[in-house]
């Protein structure tokens, strides 16, 4: 199955790499930000860091639309951050399945991204049990990377 892995280029990427064993046997590609750390990834689309810039968010939305239309992954998995927002809403449009994994660094406070993608995620996982109280029934705790 073709799986799209979406994450920003620092710690969120590190978390995705920690989970890569789960994707073995599947065809994967990344949508991430350009940096020293993402250059070495095998199959990837590199975007400019969106941050909180609405104009860059609009550009990213357009780029990701074209990537998803061409690649047609069946499943999209993200460990954050904001790059997941346009991707998950477009996934809804393309009827692709999504799994969001909240960061290991989030013990009691949800991320802005988590709150925004929660309604459109098919599977929503947190890495600390206490964080479940901040999300709805869909959120699940199924262990953490450590």
């Amino acid at each position: 199955m073709k799986i799209c892995l979406v994450c920003s280029h620092g710690g969120h990427l590190a978390e995705m790499i920690q989970l890569q064993e789960a994707f073995e046997g599947h065809e994967t590609f990344f949508i991430t930000y350009a940096s020293a750390r993402t250059r070495e990834l095998e199959r990837k689309y590199l975007l400019r860091n969106i941050g909180t810039n609405p104009l860059l968010m609009a550009c990213a939305l357009f780029s990701i639309f074209r990537i998803l239309r061409a690649e047609k992954p069946k499943l999209i998995i993200s460990t954050g951050a904001e790059i997941a927002i346009p991707t998950f809403y477009l996934a809804k449009l393309f009827r692709m399945k999504t799994i969001f994994i909240e960061s290991w660094t989030r013990v009691i406070k949800p991320t802005g991204t988590g709150r925004i993608v929660y309604p459109v995620s098919d599977v929503f996982l947190v890495q600390w049990e206490r964080l479940l109280t901040k999300y709805g029934k869909k959120a699940k705790y199924e262990g953490a990377i450590v």
Binding site: A22, K74, W104, T105, G112, D122
Partner: protein
């Protein structure tokens, strides 16, 4: 060698880099810093902006102790068996969007995985402590296994 890292965050982490640059003048040990987007230029310690994951891992392995913000480099260091001193980025200094790094550092400190330092004035003292060795890291298999199960389920539908 002491490795200092502050990650990719666009805010930089001047409070930590400035203090460690000061520590470099009094401590009898080499200090190497990954400063990221920090605007302050270190005068006393070696530094670079960013590097590859592989190079960072090698530096974490080589270091006696890794000093880092409350984020994923902690795991890089712990995987290498290197003790970690965590200085969480704080919202009040505009170093991060909220105080989640503070919650995270407190939690890992409680679990005996890291030494947490909340006031940079206490950094030098913490670095000189002999009992920095962390508890052995136990990987949690549950999340990888859960993901495999979800992926298998989506593959069938």
């Amino acid at each position: 060698m002491i490795l200092v890292t502050v990650g990719m965050h666009t805010a930089g982490f001047e409070r930590l880099i400035r203090k460690m640059d000061e520590v470099a003048t009094t401590i009898n040990e080499e200090i190497i810093m990954q400063i990221g987007h920090t605007k302050y230029t270190p005068r006393n310690a070696q530094y670079f902006q960013f590097t590859t994951a592989e190079e960072l891992k090698a530096l974490c392995h080589e270091a006696r102790v890794v000093v880092t913000h409350g984020a994923m480099t902690i795991l890089d260091a712990l995987e290498q068996g290197t003790p970690v001193v965590v200085v969480p980025r704080l919202k009040r200094y505009k170093e991060v969007i909220d105080d989640h790094q503070l919650d995270f550092a407190r939690e890992l400190e409680k679990e005996g995985k890291v030494i947490a330092v909340y006031d940079v004035e206490e950094l030098e003292g913490a670095l000189k402590k002999p009992d920095l060795k962390p508890r052995e890291l136990a990987k949690d298999r549950r999340l990888v296994n859960a993901l495999k199960a979800y992926i298998a389920r989506f593959e069938q539908n």
